[in-house]
Symmetry: C2
Subunit: 362 residues, 2 copies
């Protein structure tokens, strides 16, 4: 059973040694937040993002200082590097010369046709992909639309703008293009991507812009991506969070996993606690999360605060605890393994998980 519709068919676009498109996995990306001219800081940030599961990484290139740092960054990292550039042909040319794998730039905003041609030729010669990125906010400002303007008009304008940039690239026989239309509302994001998906066969990069801090961003983005991905739309995604980029990446993976688009990993879930709980379930859950944070093998671990309903509810877990006052039970699926004093519960759970994982990997 699946809640997924068939994946929308797209062409394949190569970004370094990664391939984007419907023949390939949906990729999770992020963007660094430090100054790209600071190679050390950028490198450190990328290493952290990669450890969290980031599969391609974008860096901002506002001036030549940052553009010239790209080669050194590229040499030191293993995931594909994307240069984020606005308007400037010289910056795009420098980024391509420095060896980046993709350039995010809208050709229609570069200005002179000969400069556009130079950038596109350089990208083609170097095998560098391009991303066209349209943001609803910029469109609204440029077209002088008020905040009250109909969302339907804005969707049309965003999609038309994206396709306008695509046509420029196609007129130069450039097809290694990924497209994004980003907005900060769920409905605009969903409608614009649906329309874009129907209008072309380029891979789509999903994004909700200015989602805000961690929790509201997670809610908004999870909603938009659940709707689009379940319809088969989306080939790479970024979760924008005003905060740690590693959280962006983790949420991206969670969204894909919940839709069966990524293999599951180690997962702790817990009952929400209620008046039946005789223990500090929030504390125990945090202790379990802390004690297992190094584990990655796919294993479902449940923490239940009720020795009456816990076992039944935990039957869907691989290993679980049902915590009571002063003691708890350790389960595998619905089979009780042992009774443990409360103080030893987390350690005993960890041991049981390790032995379960060892058996699975045999």
């Amino acid at each position: 059973m699946s809640i997924l519709q068939p994946r929308r068919k797209t062409r394949t676009v190569r970004v370094g040694d990664l391939a984007l498109g419907s023949e390939h996995d949906i990729r999770v990306q992020s963007m660094t937040k430090c100054d790209t001219a600071d190679v050390e800081a950028t490198f450190d940030e990328i290493v952290g993002l990669e450890a969290a599961g980031c599969e391609l990484v974008r860096v901002a290139v506002p001036s030549m200082k940052q553009a010239r740092a790209l080669g050194e960054i590229k040499r030191r990292i293993t995931i594909p590097l994307v240069a984020d550039i606005h308007f400037s042909a010289p910056l795009a040319l420098e980024a391509i010369a420095q060896g980046v794998d993709k350039v995010r730039i809208n050709p229609g905003n570069i200005g002179r046709r000969d400069e556009v041609e130079k950038v596109v030729r350089a990208a083609k010669d170097a095998g560098v992909a391009m991303r066209i990125g349209v943001n609803s906010g910029s469109i609204r400002e440029r077209k002088g639309l008020s905040v009250e303007e109909s969302e339907e008009d804005l969707v049309d304008l965003c999609v038309r703008e994206a396709l306008h940039h695509v046509e420029i690239l196609e007129s130069l026989r450039f097809y290694d293009t990924v497209i994004s239309v980003k907005a900060h509302t769920v409905s605009l994001t969903v409608e614009a991507n649906r329309k874009l998906a129907a209008a072309c066969d380029y891979p789509l990069h999903l994004g909700v812009t200015h989602a805000g801090s961690l929790l509201p961003a997670a809610v908004k983005t999870s909603m938009a991506y659940a709707l689009l991905l379940s319809e088969g739309i989306g080939d790479t995604l970024r979760v924008s969070v005003t905060g740690d980029g590693r959280e962006e990446v983790k949420i991206g993976h969670q969204v894909l996993q919940h839709l069966g688009l990524r293999r599951p990993t180690f997962d702790v879930y817990a009952c929400p606690s209620c008046g039946r709980a005789e223990v500090d379930l929030v504390g125990i859950t945090k202790a379990v999360e802390e004690a297992t944070k190094d584990l990655t093998y796919p294993c479902r671990v449940a923490v239940m605060g009720c020795i009456v309903n816990g076992p039944g509810e935990a039957a869907e877990a691989d290993v679980s605890i049902s915590a009571g006052r002063g003691f708890g039970f350790i389960y595998r699926g619905s089979r009780m393994i042992k009774k443990v004093p409360e103080a030893d519960l987390v350690a005993a759970l960890r041991a049981e998980i390790e032995s379960w994982i060892a058996e699975q990997s045999d």
Copy 2:
């Protein structure tokens, strides 16, 4: 424009002075986590939940001690009270006698037919609604299904189980029923509710069980509810979080707002920051959130870390700041209002928001 399909038609079920069903707003509920026998603690928790936007509240009733506290709790609160009871007819009868507005109990689990009849008659006489609640974990355990059992079979079993309880109530001419089928995966939650929605016209209570701690719970739940609510399925919902119930309620409201199912409220959003930002955007965003946390009037506030792209991106906000090094600009929509030193930015933004709200409310 709307990403919503028409709401699934349901009958109306009254829970105290609240009405559930397709003719009414989708209601956000939660459940207390303290011992229901502790009236003071339960009352305090409910007051907090209500302030966060909780519209009906459930309390656990594991024994007669808790059941006898229900009347006093009911008298002191203003939102409808739901008693969560497993198996026990005497507890259900006591809860109804104490004046609760809804009882969550599965009649098929009570056992003796005469006891079922007593409970249903008491509920009918008192105008008390009932919720049938099926959890995939319990079904799996009861039927002896392994963790690997096909999800399709499990969906069928959950839906059949729920409808079995419904039939018992209908055989006693009781129709004030709300149904939930909860699971801890997005796909099972979505498929089971789709199937249930097609099979009956009772209001549905959406829930993802054991969603875990705040962030993973927000991701999983937002995904499942986005899919179901956009299809018109769901009449009341709870977000289960191992943590503060007020967070459950806030997430519930956010989900409804993002789908246009609730009026928007005050909302701060922010760009995710990047290598172009010259300021500590996470810090500024937190300061803005803190400085505006008392505001509820619907106003979109944007915090942008870039004086180049900020203004365009913020054009969709009512009031915004674009922060640069040492200073920032305050905007209304895409109109620049003033330049402010960095130290005064948050206070100036607050003042501008207040004056914007004052103008709107005029």
